[in-house]
Amino acid sequence: MEFQDGTQAGMEPALDSGDALLTPADGGREHLVVVGNGMAGCRAVEELLARDAARYRVTIFGAEPHVNYNRIMLSPVLAGEKSFDDIVINTREWYADNGIDLIAGDPVSAINRSAKAVTSRSGRTVHYDKLLIATGSDPFIIPVPGKDLPGVISFRDMRDVDTMLAAAANGGNAVVIGGGLLGLEAAHGLTLRGMKVTVIHLMDTLMERQLDEAAGWLLKSALEARGQTILTGANTAEIYGEGKVEGVRLKDGREIPASLVVMAVGIRPSTALARGAGLAVNRGILVDDHMVTSDPDVLAVGECVEHDGNVYGLVAPLWDMCRSLADGLTDRHTGYKGSVTSTKLKVAGLDVFSAGDFSGGEGSEDIVLRDASRGVYKRVVVKDHRIVGAVLYGDTADGGWYFDLLRKGEDIADIRDLLIFGPAFASGGGALDPKAAVAALSDDAEICGCNGVSKGQVVACIEQGARSLDAVRGACKASASCGSCTGLVENLLSEVLGDGVQSGPKSLCKCTSFGHDDVRREIVAQDMRSIPEVMQKLHWSTPDGCSSCRPALNYYLLCALPGIYQDDQQSRFVNERMHANIQKDGTYSVVPRMWGGLTNPRELRAIADVVEKYDAPMVKVTGGQRLDIFGIKKEDLPAVWADLNAAGMVSGHAYGKSLRTVKTCVGSEWCRFGTQDSTGLGVKTERMTWGSWMPHKFKIAVSGCPRNCAEATIKDFGVVCVDSGYELHVGGNGGIHLRATDLLCKVTTEQEALDYCAAFIQLYREEARYLERTAPWIERVGVDYVKSRIVEDHAGREALRARFLCAQSFSQDDPWAQRAAGARADLHQPLNPTAIAAE
């Protein structure tokens, strides 16, 4: 008998060992030996028994000291939702009843194909007629220093779960490396077991192999809301600790302390045994359609195999493989054709489903339904009238239906318009026009499943005056929960009201279906760096946006990327581009900054000179304690600014969505009622905040006592000094809808007043929508939310303040000086007609 090339002598089982060599005798039945007592190995045996129970005598070797259990359910065991007994698939009785020899806790260490025998670690040698390798996968361990420290484990079997449970019993910090399915389930379980968990994920999107960015983001925020820390784009450099794990160090230097590190970065087919026996192995053990390896008597099944170039990491393909394998072993050869897989995340309350290919290649189109505020996102990818991929988040009820259409490759052209609403609507009569389909529904047809609202009820509430989606949601709750019926409600609105439908505050502008918050979040999540990139990635419907979205995007990018983003002047409103206020006759008014409303003879002289030199028809004292010079022509602006700069004055930003003025009263320096130096604090505040770009204009005032001469309680941020310190007020404004401030808190020192101011501004900058002033923003999010971020969360406040000061370090650069020095002269000078060409 000849040995195959590549067989390693060292791996040869010792045939002359003392153990009895089992022979194929046994009543003439062939002996099937299975290596691997896991999900695929046992399922294969079950399938075989179902076809021909008498055909083979079966021996199963298992490395784990257990009967076959459902590996998938290790997550619920970790999470405390199930016990080990609950997840056993085949009990000892099953093995006994079917005459199966289970050799558990004794892995096979070598295969001798020439002798047709396997040898186990304990030295047991068993002869086979047919050998089935079902060794599954090995967790991939990233080769970083410290990977072998005690306390560093993977998540693959019951022993790992036991280790995690033991660690969790002591509480403390855990780090999970890998934000895929496995890692997130481990993180979830450990969190429920009371550990403080940080997930470190190399990619920018969680579960990036199953989810697209949008769904990944929703998932991330949901997990964060559950108290996990999720670090995406984070690269592990080292696991440190003396004698046991103490923490993880990232490439960027960050250190995360941990007494337990779970590596869940991926799996690799477990092929060492097959390789050692000289079987053909690529990524996995190579098998044909009948799961036969390069040796006709050796079969392989499960995660350890590679079929037609694919290796799988989910159970569904195993079932198909096991059927084909059992067919082959019982001579009916059907053949395995590969599998399309779908995934669900098993974290209670978080429904995530994905199937097929959603990377959106050439010629594929997306049908997307998103209701971010309610955490629902559905995306079906269609190519040539067929579903090729689906991602569902928040509401995965229709996952099976999409998956079925995908697997069958069914033509969906006829139901395309309703596809995203799921089977209940898409199969309703095959109507092409969604409006017609909705119109065709009977009055008692259910529109909103979550809240049990019928079409008749929705129509009635529209007829009684609900003229927008929001109004319908408010009036009868339809579409107010999961949002999956939003499209239907919108269709009903337009059916009843025609053009009279009022659009809600839904999308940022008509160029996109995304709302402000969605766009902003995606800018950060996807690290977008320019307006065209945002428009591209978020599928803008216009080539270069409109006058609503361009300034908003410019601001969002500027806020997200201080010092990095290149401001797009062409996306700024005229005033911010010209750094002056345009007036109705096309001339400009110029307001130099006067810190805290203070001025001096030199400044006043320079202003007087400018007024005379450029023939300004009017000078006015503004409500914000500045001097406003009117009637300057755009050509003269740079020269005016140069003159004002020369006297030490910079832009007053009276024209921008930015800090306008800090208005002060004279305070304790002069006033007999004054309690603190309100003027001084005002000047300091203005020095700190000037030049900052905001979602809308921002006004500050500091009053020296509750008489409040600076009118601080109708400002975006107002300070009212009292004997014992400083009352901080937020969210006020004059204007059309006068609003008095809410009291944020009281602080005792001037420095605190400044710190809270910086943090509040940054929170507003980061979270308010473009063109939303502090008053409507606070009414939207609630003053309690603002308090929770600024007053209660000390570390958070400090971080906000630091981010504000960082952004300020890039923005406190006087735009007037730049222009006076010649920058963007094209904006101020007309073109010169040169020659006349006759034709």
């Binding site: 216009t542 080539p543 270069d544 946006g545 409109c546 006058s547 361009r550 300034p551 002047q569 062409q570 996306s571 700024r572 409103f573 005229v574 581009r577 010209m578 345009i582 109705k584 096309g586 755009k634 094209d826 000078q829 007309p830 073109l831 010169n832 007609p833 040169t834 020659a835 006349i836 060409a837 006759a838 034709e839």
Partner: protein, 111 residues
């Protein structure tokens, strides 16, 4: 016959922006360059209340007036959407990267 006046090169106008040009004593003209590098010229006055269109945000082949945000089509000078009004257009011709605009009628007659 049209008299064409060379007013400069396309590079003199920022993309998605505009410059103005004055020919004789005529009304100021706004010359726009769009995101796809097309050039249009209009009298620099909004049909609403004479806002200087050259200072607006250029998007697609439109400009949003800086005063009250009417949208004016660059090609026709017409107000878009529900607003009504029209700004006179000025013919533009490109000669390589040089921009030529048609001499306004009155200016030509006076000449």
């Amino acid at each position: 016959m049209t008299d064409w006046i060379d007013i400069g090169t396309i590079a003199d106008i920022p993309q998605r922006g505009a410059r103005t040009v004055q020919i004789g004593g005529e009304k100021e003209i706004a010359v726009f360059r769009t995101g796809d590098d097309q050039v249009f010229a209009l009298v620099n006055e909004c049909p609403h209340k004479n806002g200087p269109l050259s200072q607006g945000i250029v998007h697609g082949h439109n400009v949003a007036c800086p005063l009250h945000n009417w949208t004016i089509a660059l090609k026709t000078g017409e107000a878009q959407g529900n607003d009504e009004g029209c700004t006179p257009t000025v013919a533009v011709r490109m000669d390589g990267d040089r921009i030529l605009i048609a001499q306004p009628v009155q200016a030509r007659e006076a000449a």
